[in-house]
């Protein structure tokens, strides 16, 4: 991934504003059908290769060489990301236990830098098949340690990433999430790869219109009901994170322009 992607494949400012607010961007059905089918067939044949899948499969590499996928990854972690780990997650047919809420890895002490985790669905994954459940905005509540949130069962605004084949969800590493029960007679596969940045993550996307009214509206409306009394603080955290993403520390889309007022 040493050559930069053409600008047309980079994520837009509006998509990155959504990412700042929600902690994920979903690109629906960006992988062609033939490739999804080949990958799915291979996943069924290999069973549970776990961490080894990435190294065993040429097909999964093909998915992550697609220009749209490379462009999205570049928008988050730049042109020379570092491979962290990957895993082929499998939920067996009729497995009725939901995974506990968790955030991956330990508490990250980097103030703004983040790893990106791409979740690729090679087959249709409807609600009843156990797609990943995420809590939008929870990447901003990052002072949690892996399963320290495991007591929680249901949270307002939680969202199951029901997906069509070929969909990739790009998620901030700190987002609260869990696998869901599979009530179908088919095995559910999702391939996850985690990459960390090889450079500062400022202005890596298509920054056209990064301070436009449309982008401002996304950030200003970015309050989450589950955050309750903290919702304004969460919104300010998103506005601060967006400054890092867009590379302009003067842009202020925070509640009551708190960032400017307080000189944060």
């Amino acid at each position: 991934m040493s050559n930069g992607s053409p600008r047309e494949y980079l994520l837009t400012a509006k998509q990155m504003a959504e990412f700042a607010v929600n902690g994920f961007v979903i690109l629906e059905e960006i992988v062609p059908r033939e490739l999804n089918e080949a990958v799915h067939k291979e996943q069924q044949a290999l069973g549970t290769p776990g961490y080894e899948y990435w190294f065993k499969s040429k097909l999964i590499r093909e998915v992550f060489e697609l220009p749209q996928v490379k462009g999205a990854l570049q928008s988050f972690v730049g042109i020379n990301p570092v491979y962290d780990h990957s895993f082929l997650h499998v939920v067996p047919a009729q497995y009725h236990k939901g995974q506990a809420y968790h955030a991956d890895s330990i508490i990250d002490t980097r103030p703004y830098a983040f790893d990106i985790q791409a979740f690729y669905f090679s087959h249709d994954t409807p609600d009843e098949m156990g797609p990943t459940l995420v809590l939008p905005g929870s990447h901003l509540h990052s002072r949690v340690n892996t399963f320290s949130i495991a007591r929680y069962k249901n949270i307002l605004g939680q969202r199951r990433l029901a997906s069509k084949a070929g969909t990739i969800a790009f998620m901030h590493h700190a987002i609260w999430h869990c696998a869901q029960p599979n009530y179908t007679d088919k095995t559910r596969y999702v391939f996850k790869i985690r990459l960390r940045p090889g450079q500062e993550q400022r202005g890596l996307f298509n920054t056209d219109g990064y301070d436009s009214p449309e982008v401002e509206a996304i950030l200003r409306h970015g309050q989450h009901a589950w955050a309750g009394n903290e919702a304004r603080l969460t919104q300010i955290a998103a506005a601060k994170f967006y400054r890092y993403l867009c590379g302009d520390d003067r842009v202020d889309f925070s509640f009551e322009r708190a960032l400017t007022r307080m000189g944060i």
């Binding site: 009725h96 236990k97 939901g98 995974q99 506990a100 809420y101 459940l133 901003l140 509540h141 990052s142 002072r143 949690v144 320290s148 949130i149 007591r151 929680y152 069962k153 249901n154 949270i155 307002l156 939680q158 199951r160 869990c178 869901q180 029960p181 009901a225 589950w226 955050a227 309750g228 009394n229 903290e230 603080l233 969460t234 300010i236 955290a237």
Partner: protein
């Protein structure tokens, strides 16, 4: 002979007012035998009670009220766990 078992309901509210809105919830039911399905993540989109006060009206006893947050200088904007966590219990009768 009838025996009692404890059910624990955890409600997270929007703020420290016991009548404020429930934003997260979990039920741990000690009356169910081991192996029987408990509440799972993602089970429900709507809370069982709109507030702690509503749960009290339905017979739940509050056994934990969260202390008010302490905002330390330099950490006023730190964000992590859900802060307003109430633990409620009720005893239910089981046949054995």
């Amino acid at each position: 002979m009838a025996k009692t078992r404890q059910q624990i309901l955890i409600l997270h509210l929007a703020n420290p007012d016991l009548e404020s809105r429930t934003v997260a919830w979990a039920l741990y039911d000690g009356s169910k035998p081991k192996g029987e399905r408990q509440m799972q993540t993602g089970d429900e989109d709507t809370p069982p009670y709109e507030s702690v006060l509503d749960a009290m009206r339905d017979g739940w006893n509050v056994i934990q009220i969260p202390p008010l947050p302490l905002y330390r200088t330099g950490h006023e904007h730190d964000l992590g766990h859900l802060p307003y966590e109430y633990v409620l219990e009720r005893k239910v009768t089981i046949d054995e």
